[in-house]
Symmetry: C2
Subunit: 208 residues, 2 copies
Amino acid sequence: MTGEYFDVSMEIRTDMTVYKNRRENEPKIDTYNSHLTKGLQQSAICMDLHTGTHIDMPLHVIEKGESSSKFRIEQVCGDCRVLDLTENDEKITDAVLREKTIRPGEIVLLKTKNSFCDTFVGDFAYLADSGASYLAGEGVRAVGIDALGIERGQEGHPTHRILLGCGIPIIEGLRLADVPEGKYELWCLPLRIAGVEGLPARAVLISL
Amino acid sequence: MTGEYFDVSMEIRTDMTVYKNRRENEPKIDTYNSHLTKGLQQSAICMDLHTGTHIDMPLHVIEKGESSSKFRIEQVCGDCRVLDLTENDEKITDAVLREKTIRPGEIVLLKTKNSFCDTFVGDFAYLADSGASYLAGEGVRAVGIDALGIERGQEGHPTHRILLGCGIPIIEGLRLADVPEGKYELWCLPLRIAGVEGLPARAVLISL
């Protein structure tokens, strides 16, 4: 790995920003052995699987949907495009996305005003169901966004259901402030946890 | 990502193999919201930071050593060589490694008999301090092994101290059974947890 890259992952800390500022969802780190007591340091972490940068599996919103056991990393690694939507308002619709040329098989990352805000705000920019349908119809491989949710808890979670129902993984919690619009290679590697509905991940964009 | 690759990460499960079979170190997954109760599934995980495939930081064995906050992914991504030591006995010494041609800057992964054993055994193959000194002297970038520890709890943790003291990260818990000896590109992306001594990671080898 020699070229320029962008680490687009959130840092995981006990005081990090969490969805809807739910304190109970903040990660907890327990350093149970220390140099003083044991001559080495060992810690454990308790964290929500939807903490920071993470990938949603179909099982998150679809009963009997596929869990992480069926997930393949090819779904979130490869040709990628960052779309600059920072001038757009809060709602990303099909009309907004039609102005960009979406190509089948590419991973689309939505860069919004969220990337410039380090706290959780209720009016975060999100992908409307019409935008999700458009991206699914164009055959994208995965969709990512710089918010801890890709929608704002809309009744029935339509944006999640449209994408995950088509087998399109959703990457949430990206940090794209420093990344110009353009083409990249995405490496998004989640922990290999079996049988769950969400996977914490590290994500890196390589300049082409 | 189009070519052949090997996922060399352990699967994280509640019944997975853990170091010295310490039950208290097995990961716990709590599915706190379900489709039945909430119309969607959400889970949290509690896990030791040295669970499965993970990277040790200097702070693990060196008091005031660097934590994960100083870690750069370049240290564990890039040119890599898998050394087949499956015919070797349990102890990997400098003499064993001198038979291989180690190149400065490469990441060295030690494939041993451990990769063919799915349970924790006390006599796992490990890197002796003489082997660690040799690799550090040759200027390797990182060292990985297919055991949950790179040494067997030797007094003072010499192998850890030699490598980490030279700023050489240690990747433990790799699964290399299917990987032939040779050159690869390694992508080892850990979670971006701040200020800790170990980082759970996903690791993938790309055939060159």
